[in-house]
């Protein structure tokens, strides 16, 4: 940047009349004097009744000076000093006048509100809860109707969308689901091996890993990976569509976003999660077998035979039912949060976070409830 003289401000007092001498370059790229400075200068001349400007030494100015003078005018008004702007450059006077004379849009009802009290917040939260419960009910109501129309073959959505979502949520998730399941199987195997080795009952590692994986862990791991991977993507996608008014565009065309967007996602996850869970079960058992053979010294065939003996159809059915429920939960929370999304970039972020959190919380609750139900009906 070229050498420019820094902005200066001085005060010449002549009894009641004071002159503010402005010099140098009053541009935004300079370190501009603060209004406080002028206030102090003025305070030294309590008798002043009239303020004039001398800008002979001014080499340049922009909004920096305009806002300074605007602030000064306000200061003069509170102190009862007449502010005579004739000494300022004509362009600057015009800009000052412009901001003052332009009709300003009347302010809406939005004012800086004081921080709400505890009771206000409690009440507000309760009302929010009621509203969001209503929204969730509406979502499930509409969802059920959409599903009914699907069963009657009347739902309107693109079948290519369904296949694409199934591929994205299912096949594309194989590597990550496989890796996580294998590692979880290994972890279970290690813990089991350490404990069972004390009794010399290492062969039962196969029972422990096999049952835990097939009944619960395979489905749970799959669901949590899907919540982070697919549920978040659903919320972000639908939320962005909400921001771009794409959802409104569907509605005005008489296409229910519930059928067009939510239904294929629900169907895709309900179909794909059990399949992924079976795959996760296999990889989990392999993880356990890896530990059992390498650390526990059991032969692979013995390990697999023991696993086969331990697992019954009732266990597999439990796991598949759980996986289906989890898949529905992940799809529903992703779509619900996306549909509830506000109309800003920040809202999309919140919707995504909230979709993952909602999904995981409800998956864990469902896991607990299902365990009790399976026990009650004698599946376990």
């Amino acid at each position: 940047m070229t050498d420019t003289p820094p902005p200066t401000v001085h005060l010449h007092s002549d009894g009641e009349q004071v002159t503010l001498v402005l010099g140098g370059s009053w541009r935004l790229d300079q370190r501009l004097p603060r209004l406080l400075r002028a206030e102090r200068l003025l305070a030294q001349v309590p008798a002043a009744t009239r303020l004039r400007f001398d800008t002979a030494a001014l080499t340049g100015w922009d909004s920096g000076l305009v806002t300074f003078v605007a602030g000064l005018e306000q200061l003069c008004r509170t102190r009862g000093i007449a502010c005579d702007v004739d000494g300022l450059p004509a362009g600057l006077r015009k800009l000052l006048e412009l901001a003052r004379s332009l009709p300003q849009t009347g302010r809406g009802g939005h004012a800086m509100q004081p921080a709400p009290s505890f009771l206000t917040r409690l009440g507000g939260d309760a009302l929010d809860l009621i509203q969001s419960t209503g929204e969730i009910m509406e979502f499930f109501g509409e969802g059920t109707l959409a599903f009914r129309r699907f069963l009657l073959g009347r739902a309107r959505f693109k079948h290519s969308d369904l296949w694409l979502i199934m591929q994205e949520a299912g096949a594309d998730a194989l590597p990550i689901v496989g890796l996580v399941s294998f590692l979880v199987g290994m972890i279970l195997g290690y813990i089991g091996d350490q404990q069972l080795a004390e009794f010399g009952a290492q062969i039962y590692v196969a029972d422990l890993v096999g049952l835990a994986t097939v009944i619960q862990m395979g489905a749970l791991v799959t669901a949590i990976v899907l919540a982070g991977r697919t549920g978040a993507a659903f919320a972000a996608r639908i939320g962005t569509m909400q921001v771009n008014e794409e959802i409104d565009a569907l509605r005005t065309l008489g296409i229910s976003p519930m059928e067009f967007l939510v239904l294929p996602r629900m169907l895709a996850l309900i179909a794909m999660t059990p399949l992924l869970a079976i795959y996760a079960d296999l990889l989990g058992i392999l993880g356990g077998a890896f530990v059992g053979t390498v650390v526990g010294g059991i032969t692979l065939s013995a390990y697999l035979t023991q696993t086969q003996l331990a697992i019954g159809w009732n266990h597999i059915i439990q796991g598949l039912i759980a996986a289906t429920v989890y898949g529905a939960i992940v799809a529903a929370s992703g779509c619900l949060r996306g549909m509830q999304c506000g109309r800003s970039a920040a809202a999309v972020g919140e919707a995504t976070t909230s979709a993952v959190v909602t999904a995981i919380v409800f998956i864990v609750i469902a896991a607990a409830v299902l365990t009790i139900i399976f026990d009650a009906v004698g599946l376990s």
Partner: protein
């Protein structure tokens, strides 16, 4: 301001932006080719043409967002696309751009939107920045709205805040992408007046993309007409003169809403 004054201004002012043989496009698709024209300092320059002719693309090239396929963009004599990235950044900072829908950052209040460029590029104290933000908001008729978020105001207001943010650093060149699109006639008129007032007070060079005839005849000192079919410019000059004397029938048709041989429209 009369036409005679417009033309006198055009003749005397130095060149601020010069395009030399610019061709540009996206991927394999050519948008415009062989663009050569000058924009003079302190002028209101209008880039006009039908929808989809590449007006916004040309603006993206001049504002440093899209490299041209060939040709040079000279900003005050420096060739924008031959400079180092750092130097180009410095030049870009002297431009203010108002995007079509405002493009306000939705997670910040209006005041924070305007203060962000000030925080990044000046050494002002926080209260000075706030004073400038408040002043710029007053310039677009929105004094007192600083604590609102973009989602809380109407589309037209967002546009005006977009102008205020573009002006935050007192740019040498202000670009407006379709300023009057989506505004009611009165607001559009006020925005036109604001553009002229700011030019007169600050001497800012204004580059306006528009196809609103009222606006073109009110504000433009100089203009270029881009054509979508031949993918190049068909004419440059003052829109009044182009309407009355342009040898190109398409340009006359555009400027008279297709009634090419009627003399006075505006």
């Amino acid at each position: 301001m009369s036409d005679a004054e417009h033309e006198a201004g055009v003749a005397s002012a130095p060149v601020h932006i010069r395009l030399e043989g610019i061709s540009l496009g996206y991927g394999e698709t050519l948008v415009q080719r062989d663009l050569t024209f000058d924009i003079h300092r302190g002028d209101v320059f209008v880039i006009m043409g039908g929808s989809g002719c590449g007006k916004s693309t040309v603006m993206r090239c001049v504002t440093g967002l899209l490299a041209p396929w060939s040709g040079r963009v000279l900003l005050g004599g420096e060739s924008l696309w031959q400079l180092s990235a750092a130097r180009r950044n410095t030049l870009m900072r002297r431009n203010g751009v108002m995007y079509q829908s405002g493009a306000l950052w939705s997670s910040m209040t209006l005041e924070e939107n305007i203060c962000l460029p000030l925080e990044q590029y000046t050494r002002l104290a926080p209260e000075q920045m706030r004073a400038i933000a408040e002043y710029k908001l007053a310039l677009v008729g929105l004094a007192g709205y600083g604590d609102h978020y973009p989602a809380e105001i109407s589309g037209g207001m967002r546009k005006r805040v977009g102008v205020a943010r573009a002006m935050a650093l007192d740019p040498e060149i202000l670009f407006f992408d379709e300023p009057s699109a989506g505004l009611d006639p009165l607001s559009a008129r006020r925005l036109d007046e604001l553009i002229l007032e700011l030019r007169d007070s600050l001497g800012t060079t204004m580059v306006v993309i528009t196809h609103e005839l009222d606006s073109i005849f009110t504000i433009a000192d100089d203009a270029v007409f881009l054509d979508a079919d031949s993918k190049t410019m068909l004419a440059t000059g003052n829109p009044h003169a182009l309407r009355d004397h342009s040898p190109v029938a398409q340009v006359r048709a555009f400027l008279t809403r297709g009634e090419a041989d009627i003399d006075a429209v505006a």
